[in-house]
């Protein structure tokens, strides 16, 4: 027993965990150690942490109000006085708008990353566990949603629901859940026939209990990896909708909408569209790097060697 003399680290790295809690924390800690050795993933994590901080403290960090127009100061270039990243066509400070825009990006990503995997998990596990006609019907529905190109389907949904952030979130979630359902179903199929599930069933556990308490926990880790890798796609989709004028509406400082505004001056005032694009690129790159790292930790069998 290392608890008496050892540090927290010893307790975590103990070869003989004495409680389930210790084993669980030890596994998490070992995963963290692996992740920490991956510099790219750590860089991604750092960018994301920075982004969250920017979003949280936007009112204190942003040098200007993102909405206040100053027509005397329109289209100021990079590095001009008081506006490091210049100003847009209405004289608004681009840096401040980017910082406030981080809130919108995170809001969309967080909502979609909650809705889509949960919906997919529900459909996939029910379908995989129930089998038979339920499986055929649910998977057919999943196939139908997979049969659409995602952006086009999202476009059609937004067209029907009306433009706006909430509808963009809904549209992206509606197009994002099928891969999760497929994945959860595949996992469920392998888990369903394992001995310990039969053992629980013999003890009298009902399907609900088996799915919620014994199948879901095992699907979570691959789901997390998939969500992190999907985040970049979600950001790109949201930016695409914003760019088309179907997501966040002006004067909201959504990054995609900012590119769309700057597009008109691309040849003369390139920075107006370039800066928000760089922001989108950096953030989705960060999510991709972190996702790759997490996959190596949580789901080594899927990683490309």
């Amino acid at each position: 027993m290392s608890q008496d003399t050892g540090t927290l680290r010893d307790w975590l790295l103990s070869e003989t965990p004495t409680s389930r809690r210790q084993a669980r924390w030890a596994a998490a800690y070992k995963g963290w150690l692996t992740l920490r050795a991956n510099h790219m993933a750590m860089a991604g994590l750092a960018i994301i942490v920075l982004l969250v901080a920017l979003a949280l403290f936007a009112p204190w960090i942003a040098p200007h109000d993102p909405f206040v127009q100053d027509l005397g100061n329109r289209l100021q270039p990079l590095g001009s006085e008081g506006h490091i990243l210049g100003t847009d066509s209405l004289g608004r400070d681009i840096l401040s708008r980017l910082i406030w825009g981080a809130r919108i990006t995170l809001y969309i990503v967080a909502l979609v990353a909650l809705i889509a995997p949960i919906a997919g998990l529900l459909v996939g596990t029910v379908s995989g566990y129930a089998g038979g006609w339920v499986d055929v019907i649910l998977m057919r529905i999943t196939d139908i949603f997979l049969a659409f190109p995602r952006l086009v389907l999202a476009l059609a949904f937004v067209a029907a629901l009306g433009a706006g952030i909430e509808n963009a979130v809904l549209a992206i979630s509606l197009t994002a859940w099928p891969p999760y359902a497929r994945m959860a179903r595949a996992e469920t199929l392998t888990i369903r026939s394992s001995d310990y599930i039969s053992a629980i069933r013999l003890q009298g556990a009902g399907p609900l209990r088996i799915i919620v308490k014994h199948i879901w926990p095992l699907c979570i880790s691959s789901l997390i990896v998939r969500v992190t890798l999907d985040m970049a796609g979600i950001i790109l989709a949201a930016a695409g909708l914003g760019f088309l004028g179907l997501g966040a509406q002006p004067p909201s400082p959504e990054w995609g909408a900012m590119i769309s505004e700057g597009r008109r001056f691309i040849l003369d005032h390139w920075w107006v569209a370039t800066m928000p694009g760089l922001a989108i690129f950096t953030v989705s790159l960060a999510f991709n790097l972190l996702g790759d790292g997490l996959r190596d930790v949580l789901d080594p069998k899927d990683s490309p060697q």
């Binding site: 049969a147 659409f148 952006l151 476009l155 059609a156 597009r263 694009g277 989705s284 490309p304």
Partner: protein, 352 residues
């Protein structure tokens, strides 16, 4: 359509030869998916906040006119009946009339589709011709600088917003360097000069023998197509690499090497030959994904294809055109998926 396997097993065996049974099952599965696709667009059309009758008769119509059109559109019938009307219309190729162009949506789509097809095809050529060799080399020289480059290319491709990359490309290669033509498919001098045969300007100008127009069209397509193709390059090179790694670690490769076979022959005649089938599937899938990327690319480059058509229609609430475009894109998507499945079956001897 990987679930079709589960579907097949439960069916009682039909007294048909296996290939015919396979065909029947495939056709059934396609038609169910297509019906579902139409159902989704039908529902979207119903929940939208635009009154389809008002869209036809206008704001100033009398109540009688309104009711007449209401009946004519079949809106008094139950929803399920309306759905079957809708399916029947689509099967006949009738997507209704576009509010914006006042022409049948089907005609509009037939007019704009070749532009997208041309763009996506050049894009996928670009993606394959660069992506496959890049992936193979990255796998063979694993860990080398070229592998690192392949990794960066893929990462950037997965992380960069395509419309922004398009804008930056336009800024650099058109605005600053002046190497390529600007937005649109042709320079103004060549506009409407080429008789339209296929609707694809590169082909049409080659048919007409007008090489000036050909090079003009080429200078316009090269940038959007390579930007679109870059995304398939990212995907194709990544997949090629991982397929190749799998083959190269197999025992037959070691055997071939031990026999003293040249490295070139080991890679291309043995390992690569075995990944062709998987590659075809990947390429067909990324071709389908190009359709999606083309929506945003077309807008940046003012390319008059189906993506521009759908978004223009969207912004003016022209729902017939939006839904028609969505259905067509969905159908093409499904067909490409089925096509890649079929190719897989034809080329992979194990699946016979």
């Amino acid at each position: 359509m990987s679930t079709s396997n589960a579907f097949v097993k439960r069916q009682p065996r039909l007294p048909l030869p296996p290939w015919l049974r396979g065909l029947v099952v495939t056709l059934l599965s396609i038609s169910v998916t297509m019906l579902g696709l139409l159902f989704v667009t039908f529902v979207i059309g119903r929940v939208m906040p635009i009154d389809p009758v008002l869209a036809v008769v206008g704001e100033r119509a009398t109540e009688d006119q309104y009711n007449a059109v209401f009946l004519e559109l079949g809106l008094d019938k139950p929803l399920i009946v309306q759905f079957f009307y809708y399916v029947w219309d689509v099967v006949r190729g009738d997507f209704g009339t576009s509010l914006l162009t006042a022409r049948p949506v089907a005609d509009d789509i037939a007019r704009v589709f070749p532009a997208t097809f041309e763009l996506a095809t050049i894009g996928i050529l670009f993606g394959c011709l660069l992506g496959v060799p890049l992936g193979v080399i990255a796998a063979v020289r694993r860990g080398s600088w070229i592998d690192q480059i392949a990794r960066v290319v893929a990462l950037v491709g997965y992380s960069m917003p395509i419309f922004w990359l398009g804008l930056m490309g336009l800024l650099l290669f058109y605005g600053i360097l002046g190497w390529v033509g600007g937005p649109g498919r042709q320079g103004i001098f060549y506009e409407d000069m080429i008789p339209s045969v296929t609707g694809m300007i590169l082909l049409d100008s080659a048919i007409a023998g007008d090489w000036g127009a050909f090079w003009d069209a080429f200078s316009h397509i090269v940038l959007p197509a390579s930007i679109l193709g870059y995304y398939s390059l990212a995907y194709i090179s990544r997949m090629t690499r991982s397929f190749m790694l799998e083959q190269l670690s197999a025992e037959y490769v070691t055997t071939a090497r031990v026999k003293g076979m040249s490295e070139w022959a080991v890679i291309w005649r043995h390992a690569f030959r075995n990944i062709r089938v998987q590659l075809i599937t990947v390429i067909a899938l990324s071709y389908a994904n190009l359709l999606e990327g083309s929506v945003l690319t077309e807008i940046i480059f003012s390319w008059p294809g189906i993506g521009s058509y759908i978004t223009t229609a969207l912004l003016s609430a022209d729902m017939n055109a939006v839904l028609g475009g969505t259905v067509v894109v969905g159908l093409v998507f499904i067909c490409l998926n089925v096509f890649s499945d079929l190719l897989y079956k034809i080329f992979d001897p194990r699946s016979k």
